[in-house]
């Protein structure tokens, strides 16, 4: 996974509470076989009019936010469906950082699997960033994960909280699976004492059972 240390980028404000993952990547795009290409369809129903004409009323299509890489959002961002297609879309569009007062648990977790930093600030701090983004063309922020700071060029500086283990995963771009597999002996030892089985006592109409070990 792509490591994250610091990032400086233009901010795009999405002034809406409870943005759910259905809005980020609608159902018709869940039939993909790969993780790529979701940036084009991010916020599809808000972003496009019939015939995929850009909807000029949606913030992502405002010329002033073209090239934004910091997504400023409201409370409970990413609620609803567990679809990882949502963070895939956020990342593929070009966002490396999301800033919000709170996130839904599954989305928050999924961000870390994809090198996206979901930074949490207070409601008041997020309000201030919305004001500044609105006021200043090309408003940009520098996000420093090591120091846990978000700063602009006018001297504003906010600290954000993040669990140390989460921070390490992003800083090092760790492969979770590889890390867990290093503890293979622990897993094997657990399996010896805690025998998880799934025995079928009555036949059910299921395939490939005999292929199992």
């Amino acid at each position: 996974m792509q490591p994250f240390s610091t990032h400086t980028g233009m901010v795009m404000p999405l002034d809406r509470v409870n943005v759910d993952t259905d809005q980020m990547v609608p159902k018709q795009f869940l039939k993909a076989l790969t993780r790529e290409g979701f940036g084009r369809i991010l916020f599809y129903d808000w972003r496009y009019l019939p015939g995929e004409r850009p909807n000029p009323a949606f913030v992502l299509n405002f010329p002033r936010y073209k090239g934004a890489s910091v997504l400023l959002a409201r409370a409970n961002f990413g609620c609803g469906s567990s679809r990882e297609h949502a963070p895939w879309g956020v990342k593929d569009y070009g966002f490396r950082v999301v800033i919000a007062p709170s996130y839904a648990d599954i989305f928050y977790n999924n961000c870390f699997k994809n090198g996206i930093l979901p930074a949490t600030l207070s409601e008041a701090e997020v309000d201030e960033l919305f004001r500044r983004t609105e006021k200043e063309e090309s408003y940009s922020l520098t996000v420093n994960l090591s120091n846990q700071t978000i700063a602009d060029r006018h001297g504003l500086m906010f600290k954000f909280e993040i669990a140390p283990s989460r921070k390490e995963v992003l800083l090092k771009g760790l492969d979770d699976i590889g890390t867990t597999m290093q503890h293979e002996p622990d897993i094997t030892a657990y399996e010896k004492t805690h025998t998880a089985t799934a025995t079928m006592y009555d036949t059910v109409d299921v395939k490939y059972y005999s292929n199992g070990r």
């Binding site: 509470v17 999924n110 409601e123 979770d176």
Partner: protein, 510 residues
């Protein structure tokens, strides 16, 4: 009630400010950690403790997963990831696959016209064949929605950890399991290691006291709970449900409650197993028999929160005060009683709530102040992992028997949660009752809850739906969904609009 979040639940200390505990208001330095006394444990702690593979101070734990459920929608990238790293599925015997999200609910002998869906089915088939993972394909007699067939076949059992790349995995918590939805990267992680890296959640206790009035179902309880705590109210928590109104629910009703736990932000919902649970389990295909079953029940009896166990937050409701619920907006927390009116944005103090309400009313094509019972519906959907079990179908059938859907209704769909449920319902003659009343009787799948197959709600049409999410566009672009109980959906089909089902002839099932 509108989400009171973030006022109550989204505690975020301001730099330099006194750090007050969000619920007690005491200084942070005076906080007493709620879980210092380790002799009393919650159900969640008990299951967690018995699944820890590795723990290190300051690090998330590695926990073991007993059941990994997968479906065609969120698994192909996980298998592709394994292949790219030459990794194998560690425990194919603990992994169960099903086709449910995009399957047709009509004739499955016809060719699949949606090529993308077809490719996903083929990928799942190939992945299961190669890894030796049990697959319930679309033609299996036991096919159904992943969260329906797990419990139905006894794959889900008390005390287990269960994950699936689907947020409604919380359903399985009705059996006293720790069950939650995960993203595709975690699906890949579980396939490779049969483990997950997790930090402990906080614990939310939700108590519903008293008796449910006639016509008030499990769905109404959970909608009322979400209305009270807000859709982010449970973020960071695992919820455990208790109280007389929960205890008196059947397993079908308990699954409805746990299913929608995620809509209140808590990733998992749990109900301690009891005699109702054990009676449900006995004789199901994956449940041990005879002496082994009795031994299992003895173990399962330990699965409850100790009397003095501490929760981080407690929410209490009284069932007698809960009326049938109907959502009016674009998230499940935008809900009210059937006796109420569509709210006005100015009813809310918070500016963000006002804006959200305004936007929701515009999307839903509703005017503030409209009585809920005056809202006409175009289509009715009884189905989804929330409400497609036998109790749901029986309650709806009991109500519609001898009646007919209103002329104004364009479509009324019954989509059983599994083919097993469909077969049983047909034995009981429910299909005939529904057909005679003007409903369509379909094959099992996710259907018009997610609209990944042909069962899409057309633009600007309004549905009474027993599903779990009324998000913008969820059931189709510009579609307008009102979440209700199966009884309310059936009544809306007959009347053409919502009605106070307490005044009608309804049986008191979930």
């Amino acid at each position: 009630m509108f989400p009171i979040y973030p006022l109550l639940f989204n505690f975020q200390p301001l730099p330099g400010a006194l750090h007050l505990h969000p619920f007690t208001g005491v200084l942070e330095s005076q906080w007493k950690p709620m879980t210092t006394d380790t002799s009393y444990k919650t159900l969640y702690q008990k299951i967690w403790d018995s699944h820890v593979v590795r723990e290190e101070p300051g690090q998330p734990s590695i926990i073991y997963i007993d059941r990994h459920l997968i479906h065609e929608g969120t698994s192909p990238q996980a298998f592709a990831g394994l292949r790219a790293e030459s990794r194998k599925v560690r425990r194919p015997d603990l992994t169960f696959a099903v086709m449910d999200h995009s399957v047709s609910t009509t004739d499955r002998t016809l060719p699949i016209l949606d090529n993308d869906a077809k490719l996903q089915f083929e990928a799942l088939e190939r992945n299961c064949r190669e890894a030796g993972v049990r697959l319930f394909d679309m033609n299996s007699k036991n096919q159904g929605i992943v969260h329906i067939i797990g419990p139905e076949l006894g794959i889900t059992q008390p005390g287990q950890t269960i994950v699936c790349g689907d947020s409604h995995t919380s359903t399985h918590g009705a059996f006293g399991t720790l069950a939650f939805g995960i993203g595709t990267s975690e699906v890949e992680h579980v396939l490779a290691t049969q483990c997950l890296v997790q930090s402990r959640s906080k614990m939310l206790h939700i108590l519903v006291h008293g008796k449910r009035p006639k016509g008030v179902t499990a769905k109404d309880l959970i909608l009322a709970i979400i209305g009270k705590i807000g859709i982010g109210g449970g973020n960071g928590h695992v919820a455990e449900y208790g109280g007389e109104a929960i205890r008196s629910l059947s397993m079908d009703g308990r699954m409805t409650v746990c299913n929608m736990t995620i809509e209140g932000g808590a990733r998992a919902g749990m109900i301690a197993p009891d005699e109702t649970t054990f009676a449900y389990m006995e004789g199901r295909p994956f449940v041990p028999r005879g002496k082994a079953f009795q031994e299992a029940v003895d173990r399962w009896r330990q699965l409850h929160s100790d009397e003095n166990a501490k929760f981080d937050m407690t929410v209490e409701l009284h069932a007698e005060k809960i009326a049938p619920q109907v959502t009016w907006g674009t998230n499940p927390g935008m809900v009210t009683s059937v006796t109420e009116r569509v709210p006005d944005p100015h009813d809310f103090k918070d500016l963000n709530d006002q804006k959200a309400t305004e936007s929701a009313l515009q999307y839903m094509g509703l005017k503030a102040g409209t009585p809920i019972v005056d809202i006409p519906v175009d289509r009715v959907f009884i189905g989804s992992c929330t409400n497609s079990r036998l109790d749901d179908l029986r309650a709806a059938a009991h109500f519609v028997e001898g009646k007919h859907v209103a002329k104004s209704i364009k479509q009324a769909l019954i989509v059983p949660g599994s083919r097993g449920i469909k077969t049983q319902a047909e034995k009981e003659g429910l299909d005939k009752i529904f057909r005679d009343a003007g409903f369509e009787w379909r094959d099992a799948g996710c259907s018009m809850c997610i609209g990944m197959n042909a069962d899409v709600l057309p633009p600007h049409e309004r549905s009474a739906s027993t599903s779990n999410r009324n998000f913008e566009g969820r059931q189709g672009k510009d579609s307008r969904t009102h979440l209700v109980s199966p009884v309310m959906a059936a009544a809306a089909a007959i009347a053409g609009h919502f009605v106070d089902v307490r005044e009608l002839d309804v049986v008191n099932v979930e």
